[in-house]
Symmetry: C2
């Protein structure tokens, strides 16, 4: 069997064994085995512990050889010094798919860790094992109800996450769940003893449940293969990558964390330019980007119109969009004249960005504005900017609800096929306004509208999303 067929087994595991499932839950955390039980794993679960007849009420076995059926995924959670013996037990029992949770190998940079690393590498290579890890959280597969940590989101979705960090696997999936984004397959693979990001990427390229691929990479063993794979996958399944260790301090931290070689910044710049992959600089940025790719169609270019209220904030919006790489074309004299016919001059600015208080007082005017701006051929997409402090002051939130209801659905009739995102902000220390903001956010997200807090998020995200589509257009890839 090849690696890809093995990965198909790993990502649809009907049987899981945990070597080192403890008799009792550790203090302050359910542990790997407890977490798997609590999340309600859908397959058959085997605790391996020579000193316990059962664990969490499930019959335990002294070793893998004693288990009466083949194990699709063996999870090893014993001290580092006991990992070699556990791997030999995998080989003896004919179980080739292994996740090593245990840390304390090459990432320590210390002699004993390096020795153990060499030992398990030899065992794994000679025994033909597929190893996820060591020093990682392994797989999270919502559809199989399999996860090794607490607090994971409940739902499945079309996004995959290949993460060298277990903490990031938890944080990113949780943060995305708040944005209504869910996952098909999540892999935390740590030191990458045998299986590397490229193996997972190759699998996910053909996985029908996965439409968007996100990655957190500290190092990669075969850069050329990564470039080839990403270039090939990216046009149909956008690949969004947070590459860590691009700074001097980051490179050192990467070595301490997963013992990886981070690679130089210039090399990675070239990688992103060549492959067209979307670069993120933090988990949060990656989540905001995923949100855009999840809900927006496509775009012809980076030309945006910003529609909102407030002069200073319009200037901030223009600066933020410009810095992010978006263009803000002016309206034609004809369009400006039409705008002036229903937006009075005093205190309103009908250039781009638009600062027009009247549209927020009357929904018909709002609709007319969206319709007119969207119809402009030199505008590719819209940012609707909502100043909640001011809108709330009007009528305690009723107008905000009207705007939200319109943006959640009917707006589609006025957009002339153009994509849009919403951006909201509140600065007042008023819990009622923040509450209204969170409700607005929830309703828009549930309606498939990307919504962001402030212009930095909105403009950064739209700019990179647009650049992705421009890349594909320029190369005739769509």
């Amino acid at each position: 069997m090849g690696t890809q067929e093995d990965l198909d087994v790993i990502f649809h595991p009907k049987t899981v064994a945990v070597v080192g499932a403890p008799r009792k839950r550790p203090e302050g955390w359910p542990g790997i085995f407890g977490s798997i039980c609590d999340y309600g794993y859908a397959g058959r679960l085997y605790p391996i512990n020579p000193g316990a007849p059962e664990v969490e009420g499930i019959r335990a076995y002294p070793d893998l050889v004693s288990v009466p059926e083949p194990i699709d995924l063996v999870i090893i959670s014993v001290p580092a010094s006991a990992v070699p013996a556990a791997l030999r037990d995998c080989i003896a029992s004919g179980n080739r798919n292994v996740h090593i949770f245990t840390a304390g190998f090459k990432e320590t940079g210390e002699e004993e860790g390096l020795r153990l690393h060499r030992e398990i590498e030899t065992i794994a290579r000679e025994g033909g094992l597929n190893v996820i890890g060591p020093n990682c959280m392994g797989v999270f597969i919502p559809r199989q109800r399999l996860v090794t940590w607490i607090g994971a989101p409940e739902k499945s979705g079309p996004v995959a996450f290949i993460s060298q960090s277990g903490g990031h696997a938890q944080d990113f999936t949780n943060f995305c769940a708040r944005l209504g984004i869910n996952f098909s397959t999540v892999i935390s693979f740590g030191n990458a003893l045998t299986l590397d990001s490229t193996d997972f990427l190759e699998y996910l390229a053909d996985d029908p449940d996965t439409k968007i691929i996100t990655m957190y990479l500290e190092g990669v063993k075969d850069g050329r293969r990564l470039l080839e794979l990403v270039s090939q996958v990216n046009p149909t399944k956008p690949v969004i990558i947070l590459k860590a260790g691009l700074t001097k301090a980051g490179t050192k931290a990467v070595a301490s964390h997963t013992g990886s070689l981070a690679g130089g910044e210039r090399m990675w710049d070239a990688f992103f330019k060549k492959s067209g992959a979307v670069q993120a600089h933090s988990l949060e940025e990656m989540a905001f980007l995923t949100l855009a790719f999840r809900h927006l169609g496509t775009t012809e270019g980076p030309r945006v119109a910003v529609i909102g209220h407030g002069g200073g904030i319009a200037v901030s919006a223009a600066d933020a969009c410009s810095r992010a790489g978006l263009e803000m074309p002016p309206f034609t004299p004809k369009a400006a004249k039409e705008l002036r016919s229903f937006i009075p001059a005093g205190g309103n600015i009908i250039r781009n960005p638009i600062d027009a208080m009247p549209i927020f007082r009357d929904m018909e005017t709002f609709q007319r504005m969206i319709d007119l701006v969207s119809s402009q051929p030199q505008i590719d997409m819209l940012i609707i900017s909502l100043s909640l402090d001011w809108l709330y002051g009007l009528d305690k939130g009723r107008q905000i609800q009207k705007v939200t209801d319109y943006l959640s659905g009917p707006v589609g009739n006025d957009l002339h096929g153009k994509p849009f995102v919403a951006s909201w902000r509140t600065h007042r220390n008023n819990p009622a306004i923040r509450e209204v903001g969170c409700r607005l956010e929830k309703q828009l997200l549930e309606s498939g509208v990307p919504v962001y807090r402030g212009f930095e998020q909105a403009s950064m995200t739209l700019a990179r999303w647009a650049r992705y589509h421009q890349f594909l257009h320029a190369r005739g890839l769509k």
Copy 2:
């Protein structure tokens, strides 16, 4: 009387008149006059309205000439076409200090607006008026209970804000109030007909109530004077500036907003380098910077130690600090050995950043860590990084409370005089954890500890705060 003496009157106004105070409050907003009443202005207030005997229960006068005493600040809130007559009334009544709220002048870029601009400019110059505005919100002086908008913070504090935008004056002071930062004097000055940012800066330089000066600038009339003033003030009162319109789209938006010339990016780069002023790129950044300057003492250099838990997040921290311009020196072999004596090897990283779970389980270990790291001569300051999702999982927040209590006070005994900030984050969709985070934030802020959400905020802020102090050191200015 010179401008500076006039400004002293404007900023301590015992009498205020509002020309155009409406008989009835406008819909959905109390209006300028209503806002002044609602906030509870401490001086004597005169509504000017020829058609009303009283406004909001206060005796009204038909014009300024009829008012029985001198007015320290006249606020003009009539249609643009009526502003020239109102200014002539100021001159006739001997009242020279004027805030013009009204918009519709040169910022429109349209013929009538430009003509009116020239007209009021001539009247103001010839009459020797001190004009704040037009097209702005004027002054907000908490100690005099004077403000022209709703929802302003209640307290006074040591920060001043000179803002060309009225919306930003509201948003920034509100956002700062959430961080426990309050204001001595806030000025929104719009089109800057006669009084410009430099006039206000000169006044605030000697204002005993002001310790930190923040500015939002779209344009400036006398760049050389600004450079001289900022260079002179900055060493004793840090000057933090958000300069808008540094991009192509931003420059255009600035022209539409306050009719200002934004100036080129290169010129402003040189300005910041020469003056040592602290640059912010958004209102939020400016608030985070103000928070650091408000509470932190000084620093020898930009060398930071990060103390937290989690391998991936440690890498993110290293990248964020490095990108921001902070250095992360390694610990000496002696210090590393001592760290290893109480932090076990497995799963913990005792390089910089430190990833050490045990310190969050036991306060004595936490204290020992802070003490040891702070005592290192190559470390200038600390970031304490708190992963609330994980900490909350331990015991539903009791440990977080212990850490918060320690960081709110006793930590001072272990810091060897080094400054520190806290950084927290939660990614889980758990309202209880967010609630705990907000409590932590509140308690730390009330204890004078700068606390940030995530590393981008914390590292950006510390880096620029440190650069300010390095600038002063390098020039022998402290």
